[in-house]
Protein backbone atom coordinates (compact mmCIF):
# COMPACT_ATOMS: atom_id res chain seq x y z
CA UNK A 1 0.00 0.00 0.00
CA UNK A 2 1.11 3.52 -0.79
CA UNK A 3 0.13 6.88 0.71
CA UNK A 4 -0.87 9.49 -1.85
CA UNK A 5 -0.87 13.15 -0.86
CA UNK A 6 -2.82 15.76 -2.82
CA UNK A 7 -0.80 18.88 -2.02
CA UNK A 8 -3.49 21.10 -3.52
CA UNK A 9 -6.00 19.90 -0.95
CA UNK A 10 -3.72 19.66 2.09
CA UNK A 11 -4.06 22.61 4.46
CA UNK A 12 -1.58 21.42 7.08
CA UNK A 13 -4.13 20.78 9.82
CA UNK A 14 -2.04 17.91 11.12
CA UNK A 15 -4.67 15.30 11.91
CA UNK A 16 -2.54 12.73 10.07
CA UNK A 17 0.45 13.58 12.22
CA UNK A 18 -1.70 13.14 15.33
CA UNK A 19 -2.69 9.66 14.15
CA UNK A 20 0.67 8.53 12.80
CA UNK A 21 3.65 10.71 13.76
CA UNK A 22 6.00 8.11 12.27
CA UNK A 23 4.46 8.64 8.82
CA UNK A 24 3.58 12.34 8.64
CA UNK A 25 5.01 15.61 9.84
CA UNK A 26 3.71 19.11 9.17
CA UNK A 27 6.63 21.37 8.24
CA UNK A 28 7.42 24.85 9.49
CA UNK A 29 5.88 26.37 6.37
CA UNK A 30 2.61 24.45 6.91
CA UNK A 31 3.25 21.93 4.14
CA UNK A 32 3.12 18.21 4.88
CA UNK A 33 6.02 15.79 4.66
CA UNK A 34 5.09 12.15 4.16
CA UNK A 35 7.94 10.51 6.05
CA UNK A 36 7.24 7.08 4.66
CA UNK A 37 4.86 6.69 1.73
CA UNK A 38 5.01 2.90 1.91
CA UNK A 39 3.98 1.97 5.43
CA UNK A 40 5.08 -1.41 6.74
CA UNK A 41 2.54 -3.99 7.91
CA UNK A 42 2.78 -2.76 11.51
CA UNK A 43 2.09 0.83 10.37
CA UNK A 44 -0.81 0.04 8.09
CA UNK A 45 -3.60 0.50 10.60
CA UNK A 46 -2.26 3.89 11.65
CA UNK A 47 -1.79 4.88 8.01
CA UNK A 48 -5.43 4.04 7.35
CA UNK A 49 -6.60 6.00 10.40
CA UNK A 50 -4.47 8.98 9.36
CA UNK A 51 -5.81 9.03 5.81
CA UNK A 52 -9.43 8.82 6.93
CA UNK A 53 -8.87 11.49 9.59
CA UNK A 54 -7.86 14.14 7.03
CA UNK A 55 -10.45 16.95 7.17
CA UNK A 56 -9.40 18.09 3.70
CA UNK A 57 -9.57 14.68 2.02
CA UNK A 58 -5.97 15.14 0.89
CA UNK A 59 -4.71 11.67 1.77
CA UNK A 60 -5.42 8.32 0.20
CA UNK A 61 -4.08 4.88 0.82
CA UNK A 62 -3.89 3.12 -2.55
CA UNK A 63 -2.83 -0.31 -3.75
CA UNK A 64 0.72 -0.28 -4.97
Amino acid sequence: MRIELDEGKCCGLGMCEAEAPDLFEVQDDGSLAVLNARPGPEQLERARAACSACPAGALQLVEA
Binding site: C11, G12, L13, G14, M15, E17, A18, P21, E25, V26, Q27, D28, G30, A53, P55
Partner: protein, 419 residues
Protein backbone atom coordinates in the same frame (compact mmCIF):
# COMPACT_ATOMS: atom_id res chain seq x y z
CA UNK B 1 -29.51 -6.06 15.21
CA UNK B 2 -31.31 -5.27 11.95
CA UNK B 3 -32.01 -1.57 11.89
CA UNK B 4 -29.60 1.28 12.47
CA UNK B 5 -31.13 4.74 12.24
CA UNK B 6 -28.92 7.82 12.16
CA UNK B 7 -30.71 11.11 12.81
CA UNK B 8 -28.73 14.01 11.40
CA UNK B 9 -27.04 13.99 8.00
CA UNK B 10 -23.97 16.11 8.56
CA UNK B 11 -20.40 15.02 9.32
CA UNK B 12 -21.16 12.95 12.43
CA UNK B 13 -24.09 11.22 10.72
CA UNK B 14 -22.03 10.54 7.61
CA UNK B 15 -19.19 9.03 9.62
CA UNK B 16 -21.69 6.93 11.59
CA UNK B 17 -23.10 5.25 8.48
CA UNK B 18 -19.64 4.77 6.97
CA UNK B 19 -18.33 3.22 10.20
CA UNK B 20 -21.33 0.90 10.44
CA UNK B 21 -20.60 -0.56 7.02
CA UNK B 22 -16.84 -0.62 7.66
CA UNK B 23 -17.58 -2.66 10.80
CA UNK B 24 -19.40 -5.21 8.65
CA UNK B 25 -22.98 -4.30 9.60
CA UNK B 26 -25.24 -5.83 6.94
CA UNK B 27 -28.62 -4.64 8.20
CA UNK B 28 -30.74 -1.67 7.16
CA UNK B 29 -29.34 1.82 7.64
CA UNK B 30 -31.56 4.90 7.45
CA UNK B 31 -30.02 8.37 7.42
CA UNK B 32 -32.46 11.14 8.31
CA UNK B 33 -31.63 14.80 7.66
CA UNK B 34 -33.72 17.92 8.23
CA UNK B 35 -32.01 19.80 5.41
CA UNK B 36 -32.77 18.76 1.84
CA UNK B 37 -29.04 18.55 1.01
CA UNK B 38 -26.72 15.56 0.87
CA UNK B 39 -24.19 15.58 3.72
CA UNK B 40 -21.80 18.50 3.27
CA UNK B 41 -18.73 19.90 4.98
CA UNK B 42 -19.17 23.00 7.13
CA UNK B 43 -15.72 24.49 7.92
CA UNK B 44 -15.29 26.06 4.44
CA UNK B 45 -18.70 27.80 4.67
CA UNK B 46 -17.32 30.67 6.74
CA UNK B 47 -14.01 30.73 4.87
CA UNK B 48 -13.24 30.34 1.13
CA UNK B 49 -16.91 29.57 0.37
CA UNK B 50 -17.63 33.26 0.89
CA UNK B 51 -15.12 34.37 -1.76
CA UNK B 52 -16.47 36.12 -4.81
CA UNK B 53 -17.47 33.74 -7.60
CA UNK B 54 -16.31 34.81 -11.05
CA UNK B 55 -19.09 35.45 -13.58
CA UNK B 56 -20.03 32.22 -15.33
CA UNK B 57 -18.21 30.03 -12.78
CA UNK B 58 -20.04 27.35 -10.79
CA UNK B 59 -21.28 28.13 -7.32
CA UNK B 60 -19.12 26.40 -4.70
CA UNK B 61 -20.22 23.10 -3.17
CA UNK B 62 -18.92 21.22 -0.15
CA UNK B 63 -21.01 18.06 -0.58
CA UNK B 64 -18.96 15.02 0.53
CA UNK B 65 -20.39 12.38 -1.82
CA UNK B 66 -23.09 12.04 -4.45
CA UNK B 67 -26.33 10.19 -3.82
CA UNK B 68 -25.08 7.01 -5.52
CA UNK B 69 -22.35 6.70 -2.90
CA UNK B 70 -24.97 6.41 -0.17
CA UNK B 71 -27.56 4.37 -2.01
CA UNK B 72 -25.43 2.02 -4.12
CA UNK B 73 -22.12 1.78 -2.29
CA UNK B 74 -23.25 2.05 1.33
CA UNK B 75 -26.79 0.72 0.94
CA UNK B 76 -28.24 3.60 2.94
CA UNK B 77 -31.86 4.76 2.77
CA UNK B 78 -31.75 8.54 2.64
CA UNK B 79 -34.57 10.56 4.13
CA UNK B 80 -33.43 14.10 3.49
CA UNK B 81 -35.56 17.18 3.99
CA UNK B 82 -37.43 15.35 6.74
CA UNK B 83 -36.93 16.45 10.32
CA UNK B 84 -37.28 13.91 13.11
CA UNK B 85 -40.00 15.18 15.41
CA UNK B 86 -39.72 12.79 18.35
CA UNK B 87 -37.92 9.75 19.74
CA UNK B 88 -39.67 6.85 21.41
CA UNK B 89 -36.90 4.88 23.18
CA UNK B 90 -39.36 2.41 24.77
CA UNK B 91 -40.89 1.54 21.40
CA UNK B 92 -37.51 1.95 19.66
CA UNK B 93 -38.74 4.21 16.91
CA UNK B 94 -37.99 7.64 15.49
CA UNK B 95 -41.04 9.76 14.69
CA UNK B 96 -41.04 11.86 11.51
CA UNK B 97 -44.30 13.75 11.66
CA UNK B 98 -46.95 11.22 10.66
CA UNK B 99 -44.38 8.54 9.84
CA UNK B 100 -42.26 6.32 12.09
CA UNK B 101 -38.96 4.55 11.51
CA UNK B 102 -38.19 1.57 13.78
CA UNK B 103 -34.68 0.97 15.05
CA UNK B 104 -32.61 -1.46 17.04
CA UNK B 105 -29.99 1.21 17.56
CA UNK B 106 -30.14 4.94 16.91
CA UNK B 107 -27.38 7.53 16.64
CA UNK B 108 -28.51 11.08 17.38
CA UNK B 109 -26.43 13.56 15.38
CA UNK B 110 -28.77 16.50 14.93
CA UNK B 111 -26.06 19.10 15.55
CA UNK B 112 -26.83 22.60 16.71
CA UNK B 113 -28.89 25.60 15.64
CA UNK B 114 -27.35 29.04 15.23
CA UNK B 115 -28.64 31.47 17.84
CA UNK B 116 -30.44 34.46 16.43
CA UNK B 117 -31.20 37.94 17.72
CA UNK B 118 -34.88 38.54 18.43
CA UNK B 119 -34.39 42.06 17.07
CA UNK B 120 -33.22 40.80 13.68
CA UNK B 121 -36.19 38.66 12.70
CA UNK B 122 -37.73 39.37 9.37
CA UNK B 123 -35.27 42.10 8.43
CA UNK B 124 -33.61 41.60 5.03
CA UNK B 125 -29.80 41.75 5.09
CA UNK B 126 -29.52 40.02 8.50
CA UNK B 127 -28.06 36.54 8.37
CA UNK B 128 -26.81 33.77 10.63
CA UNK B 129 -24.20 31.36 9.28
CA UNK B 130 -24.70 27.71 10.02
CA UNK B 131 -26.07 25.93 6.97
CA UNK B 132 -25.02 25.91 3.33
CA UNK B 133 -28.15 27.91 2.51
CA UNK B 134 -27.02 30.54 5.03
CA UNK B 135 -23.56 30.59 3.46
CA UNK B 136 -24.97 31.11 -0.07
CA UNK B 137 -27.07 33.98 1.27
CA UNK B 138 -24.13 35.64 3.01
CA UNK B 139 -21.89 35.21 -0.04
CA UNK B 140 -24.46 36.76 -2.37
CA UNK B 141 -25.13 39.55 0.10
CA UNK B 142 -21.40 40.33 0.16
CA UNK B 143 -21.48 40.75 -3.63
CA UNK B 144 -23.51 43.93 -3.26
CA UNK B 145 -22.82 44.98 0.34
CA UNK B 146 -21.13 48.26 1.12
CA UNK B 147 -20.77 48.08 4.91
CA UNK B 148 -20.72 44.95 7.03
CA UNK B 149 -21.37 44.60 10.75
CA UNK B 150 -20.65 41.24 12.38
CA UNK B 151 -22.28 40.61 15.75
CA UNK B 152 -20.13 38.30 17.86
CA UNK B 153 -16.33 38.04 17.77
CA UNK B 154 -16.22 34.25 17.99
CA UNK B 155 -14.66 32.06 15.35
CA UNK B 156 -17.54 32.19 12.87
CA UNK B 157 -17.90 35.96 13.22
CA UNK B 158 -14.15 36.48 12.89
CA UNK B 159 -13.91 34.29 9.80
CA UNK B 160 -16.81 36.13 8.18
CA UNK B 161 -15.11 39.44 8.98
CA UNK B 162 -11.88 38.20 7.42
CA UNK B 163 -13.75 37.08 4.29
CA UNK B 164 -15.44 40.46 3.96
CA UNK B 165 -12.11 42.27 4.37
CA UNK B 166 -10.63 40.06 1.66
CA UNK B 167 -13.25 41.56 -0.65
CA UNK B 168 -12.22 45.03 0.52
CA UNK B 169 -15.44 45.68 2.46
CA UNK B 170 -15.37 47.84 5.59
CA UNK B 171 -16.20 45.64 8.61
CA UNK B 172 -17.04 46.30 12.23
CA UNK B 173 -17.30 43.46 14.75
CA UNK B 174 -19.45 44.06 17.81
CA UNK B 175 -18.72 41.83 20.81
CA UNK B 176 -20.78 41.93 24.00
CA UNK B 177 -17.99 40.64 26.24
CA UNK B 178 -14.96 42.69 27.26
CA UNK B 179 -12.60 40.20 25.62
CA UNK B 180 -13.31 37.98 22.65
CA UNK B 181 -12.99 34.17 22.56
CA UNK B 182 -12.87 33.81 26.34
CA UNK B 183 -14.64 30.46 26.34
CA UNK B 184 -12.56 29.09 23.46
CA UNK B 185 -9.01 30.14 24.39
CA UNK B 186 -9.21 32.09 27.67
CA UNK B 187 -9.16 35.89 28.22
CA UNK B 188 -5.48 36.81 27.73
CA UNK B 189 -4.93 34.86 24.56
CA UNK B 190 -8.34 35.78 23.20
CA UNK B 191 -7.19 39.38 23.31
CA UNK B 192 -3.88 38.43 21.69
CA UNK B 193 -5.57 36.71 18.75
CA UNK B 194 -8.01 39.57 18.35
CA UNK B 195 -5.11 41.86 17.42
CA UNK B 196 -5.25 40.22 14.01
CA UNK B 197 -8.45 42.15 13.36
CA UNK B 198 -6.84 45.54 13.93
CA UNK B 199 -3.85 44.55 11.80
CA UNK B 200 -6.20 43.85 8.89
CA UNK B 201 -8.36 46.91 9.22
CA UNK B 202 -11.36 45.34 10.97
CA UNK B 203 -12.88 47.57 13.62
CA UNK B 204 -13.44 45.36 16.70
CA UNK B 205 -15.57 46.82 19.49
CA UNK B 206 -15.64 44.79 22.67
CA UNK B 207 -18.00 45.27 25.60
CA UNK B 208 -20.56 46.63 23.15
CA UNK B 209 -24.17 45.52 23.52
CA UNK B 210 -26.60 45.60 20.63
CA UNK B 211 -29.71 47.61 21.45
CA UNK B 212 -31.49 47.03 18.18
CA UNK B 213 -31.14 46.64 14.47
CA UNK B 214 -32.18 49.63 12.39
CA UNK B 215 -34.26 49.58 9.23
CA UNK B 216 -37.84 48.94 8.16
CA UNK B 217 -37.70 46.05 5.70
CA UNK B 218 -34.00 45.99 5.02
CA UNK B 219 -31.35 46.53 7.64
CA UNK B 220 -29.66 49.93 7.58
CA UNK B 221 -27.53 49.71 10.71
CA UNK B 222 -26.99 48.55 14.25
CA UNK B 223 -27.66 50.69 17.32
CA UNK B 224 -25.48 49.87 20.32
CA UNK B 225 -26.52 50.26 23.95
CA UNK B 226 -24.17 53.24 24.34
CA UNK B 227 -26.13 55.03 21.62
CA UNK B 228 -23.60 54.54 18.81
CA UNK B 229 -25.18 53.82 15.44
CA UNK B 230 -23.17 51.74 12.98
CA UNK B 231 -24.45 51.91 9.42
CA UNK B 232 -24.64 48.51 7.68
CA UNK B 233 -26.41 46.91 4.75
CA UNK B 234 -25.24 43.42 5.76
CA UNK B 235 -25.35 42.15 9.33
CA UNK B 236 -24.03 38.69 10.12
CA UNK B 237 -24.95 37.29 13.51
CA UNK B 238 -22.42 34.86 14.99
CA UNK B 239 -23.47 34.54 18.61
CA UNK B 240 -23.08 30.81 19.07
CA UNK B 241 -25.23 27.75 18.62
CA UNK B 242 -27.53 25.66 20.78
CA UNK B 243 -27.71 21.87 20.55
CA UNK B 244 -30.69 20.70 18.50
CA UNK B 245 -32.48 18.74 21.21
CA UNK B 246 -35.97 20.23 20.95
CA UNK B 247 -37.32 17.13 19.22
CA UNK B 248 -36.10 14.96 22.12
CA UNK B 249 -38.18 16.67 24.83
CA UNK B 250 -40.21 14.03 26.64
CA UNK B 251 -38.14 11.11 25.33
CA UNK B 252 -36.75 10.43 28.81
CA UNK B 253 -33.15 11.24 27.90
CA UNK B 254 -31.07 13.60 30.04
CA UNK B 255 -30.95 16.87 28.14
CA UNK B 256 -28.63 19.47 29.63
CA UNK B 257 -26.81 21.60 27.07
CA UNK B 258 -26.94 18.59 24.75
CA UNK B 259 -27.77 14.91 24.99
CA UNK B 260 -25.90 13.74 28.07
CA UNK B 261 -23.97 10.52 27.40
CA UNK B 262 -21.49 8.30 29.16
CA UNK B 263 -17.95 7.72 27.90
CA UNK B 264 -19.32 5.28 25.29
CA UNK B 265 -21.51 8.06 23.82
CA UNK B 266 -24.52 6.12 25.09
CA UNK B 267 -27.52 8.13 26.30
CA UNK B 268 -29.93 5.22 26.99
CA UNK B 269 -30.10 1.58 25.92
CA UNK B 270 -29.84 1.57 22.13
CA UNK B 271 -29.52 5.37 21.99
CA UNK B 272 -26.19 7.00 21.19
CA UNK B 273 -25.21 10.55 20.31
CA UNK B 274 -22.40 12.19 18.32
CA UNK B 275 -21.26 15.60 17.19
CA UNK B 276 -22.37 19.06 18.34
CA UNK B 277 -25.51 17.67 20.02
CA UNK B 278 -23.63 15.22 22.27
CA UNK B 279 -22.39 16.11 25.74
CA UNK B 280 -20.36 13.13 26.79
CA UNK B 281 -17.98 12.17 29.52
CA UNK B 282 -14.45 12.60 28.14
CA UNK B 283 -12.30 10.29 30.29
CA UNK B 284 -9.14 12.14 29.26
CA UNK B 285 -10.20 15.22 31.25
CA UNK B 286 -12.73 13.54 33.56
CA UNK B 287 -15.59 15.85 32.65
CA UNK B 288 -18.67 16.25 30.50
CA UNK B 289 -17.86 18.09 27.29
CA UNK B 290 -19.91 19.27 24.36
CA UNK B 291 -17.65 20.16 21.45
CA UNK B 292 -18.58 21.91 18.24
CA UNK B 293 -15.48 20.79 16.39
CA UNK B 294 -15.00 19.03 13.07
CA UNK B 295 -12.62 16.42 14.45
CA UNK B 296 -14.80 15.36 17.37
CA UNK B 297 -17.92 15.19 15.18
CA UNK B 298 -16.08 12.82 12.83
CA UNK B 299 -14.60 10.72 15.63
CA UNK B 300 -17.79 10.55 17.67
CA UNK B 301 -19.90 9.61 14.67
CA UNK B 302 -17.67 6.66 14.03
CA UNK B 303 -17.38 5.64 17.70
CA UNK B 304 -21.11 6.00 18.38
CA UNK B 305 -22.05 3.76 15.45
CA UNK B 306 -19.53 1.08 16.40
CA UNK B 307 -20.64 1.10 20.04
CA UNK B 308 -24.32 1.15 19.07
CA UNK B 309 -23.93 -1.93 16.90
CA UNK B 310 -21.80 -3.88 19.37
CA UNK B 311 -22.51 -2.61 22.88
CA UNK B 312 -20.86 -5.65 24.48
CA UNK B 313 -17.51 -4.55 23.06
CA UNK B 314 -18.07 -0.80 23.31
CA UNK B 315 -14.96 1.35 23.62
CA UNK B 316 -14.87 4.70 25.42
CA UNK B 317 -14.37 7.75 23.24
CA UNK B 318 -11.44 9.87 24.44
CA UNK B 319 -10.15 12.89 22.62
CA UNK B 320 -7.98 15.95 22.94
CA UNK B 321 -10.31 18.60 21.52
CA UNK B 322 -8.89 20.29 18.42
CA UNK B 323 -10.13 23.15 16.33
CA UNK B 324 -8.69 25.47 13.76
CA UNK B 325 -9.74 28.77 12.27
CA UNK B 326 -8.50 30.80 9.31
CA UNK B 327 -8.35 34.58 9.79
CA UNK B 328 -6.91 36.71 7.03
CA UNK B 329 -3.59 35.03 6.18
CA UNK B 330 -3.21 33.38 9.59
CA UNK B 331 -4.07 29.92 10.84
CA UNK B 332 -5.18 29.57 14.43
CA UNK B 333 -5.08 26.12 16.00
CA UNK B 334 -6.05 25.05 19.49
CA UNK B 335 -5.71 21.68 21.18
CA UNK B 336 -6.91 20.66 24.64
CA UNK B 337 -8.97 22.67 27.12
CA UNK B 338 -8.65 26.39 27.82
CA UNK B 339 -9.44 26.53 31.55
CA UNK B 340 -6.01 26.74 33.08
CA UNK B 341 -4.17 27.88 36.19
CA UNK B 342 -1.59 29.52 33.94
CA UNK B 343 -1.05 30.31 30.29
CA UNK B 344 2.42 31.00 28.97
CA UNK B 345 3.65 32.19 25.59
CA UNK B 346 6.55 29.83 24.90
CA UNK B 347 7.53 30.90 21.42
CA UNK B 348 7.22 34.20 19.56
CA UNK B 349 5.76 37.50 20.69
CA UNK B 350 1.99 37.91 20.50
CA UNK B 351 2.25 41.56 19.49
CA UNK B 352 5.24 41.58 17.17
CA UNK B 353 5.41 38.15 15.57
CA UNK B 354 3.34 36.42 12.94
CA UNK B 355 4.01 33.04 14.57
CA UNK B 356 3.55 32.34 18.26
CA UNK B 357 2.70 29.46 20.58
CA UNK B 358 1.09 29.47 24.02
CA UNK B 359 0.65 26.61 26.47
CA UNK B 360 -1.98 26.01 29.16
CA UNK B 361 -1.20 24.52 32.58
CA UNK B 362 -3.56 22.91 35.07
CA UNK B 363 -1.77 21.74 38.22
CA UNK B 364 1.42 20.18 36.92
CA UNK B 365 -0.14 18.96 33.69
CA UNK B 366 -0.13 20.54 30.23
CA UNK B 367 -3.79 20.69 29.17
CA UNK B 368 -3.81 22.98 26.15
CA UNK B 369 -1.81 24.63 23.38
CA UNK B 370 -2.62 27.50 21.07
CA UNK B 371 -0.68 28.12 17.88
CA UNK B 372 -0.93 31.06 15.53
CA UNK B 373 0.85 30.04 12.33
CA UNK B 374 2.53 27.24 14.25
CA UNK B 375 1.28 24.31 12.21
CA UNK B 376 4.46 22.31 12.64
CA UNK B 377 4.13 22.49 16.42
CA UNK B 378 0.51 21.96 17.32
CA UNK B 379 0.19 18.20 16.90
CA UNK B 380 3.34 17.60 18.90
CA UNK B 381 1.65 19.30 21.84
CA UNK B 382 -1.57 17.43 21.20
CA UNK B 383 0.32 14.18 21.59
CA UNK B 384 1.76 15.33 24.92
CA UNK B 385 -1.70 16.31 26.14
CA UNK B 386 -3.16 12.95 25.12
CA UNK B 387 -0.38 11.24 27.07
CA UNK B 388 -1.33 13.31 30.15
CA UNK B 389 2.21 14.71 30.09
CA UNK B 390 3.57 17.12 32.66
CA UNK B 391 3.88 20.90 32.30
CA UNK B 392 7.65 20.48 32.30
CA UNK B 393 7.36 18.10 29.32
CA UNK B 394 5.49 20.88 27.50
CA UNK B 395 8.14 23.46 28.33
CA UNK B 396 10.89 21.05 27.28
CA UNK B 397 9.25 20.47 23.93
CA UNK B 398 8.94 24.23 23.45
CA UNK B 399 12.64 24.62 24.18
CA UNK B 400 13.58 21.90 21.68
CA UNK B 401 11.35 23.48 19.02
CA UNK B 402 12.84 26.94 19.59
CA UNK B 403 16.37 25.55 19.24
CA UNK B 404 15.54 23.60 16.13
CA UNK B 405 13.96 26.63 14.44
CA UNK B 406 16.88 28.86 15.45
CA UNK B 407 19.33 26.32 14.00
CA UNK B 408 17.34 26.17 10.76
CA UNK B 409 17.19 29.92 10.37
CA UNK B 410 20.95 30.22 11.11
CA UNK B 411 21.54 27.58 8.43
CA UNK B 412 19.41 29.53 5.97
CA UNK B 413 21.29 32.74 6.69
CA UNK B 414 24.60 30.83 6.33
CA UNK B 415 23.73 29.38 2.96
CA UNK B 416 22.42 32.73 1.71
CA UNK B 417 25.73 34.33 2.73
CA UNK B 418 27.76 31.60 0.96
CA UNK B 419 25.85 31.74 -2.31
Amino acid sequence: MNDLVVVGASLAGLRAVEAARAAGFGGRITLIGAEPHLPYDRPPLSKQFLDEVAAGADEPSTVFHDEAHFVDELGVTLRLGEAATALDPAGRRVILGADTVPYDAVVIATGAHARTLPAGRGLAGVHALRTVDDAHSVRRAMDTAERVVVIGAGFIGSEVAASARKRGLPVTIVEALATPLVRAVGPELGLAIAQLHAKHGTDLRCGAGVERLLGEEKVTGVRLTDGTELPADLVVVGVGADPATGWLEGAGLTLDNGVVCDEYLCAAPGVYAAGDVARWHNPLFGRLQRLEHWTSAAGQGEAAARNALDPENAKPYLTVPYFWSDWYDSKIQFVGIPDADETRVVDGDVTADRRWIALYRQGDRIVGALAVNGQADIMKYRRLISERASWQDGLDLAERRRRSLAAKSAEAVGSATRS
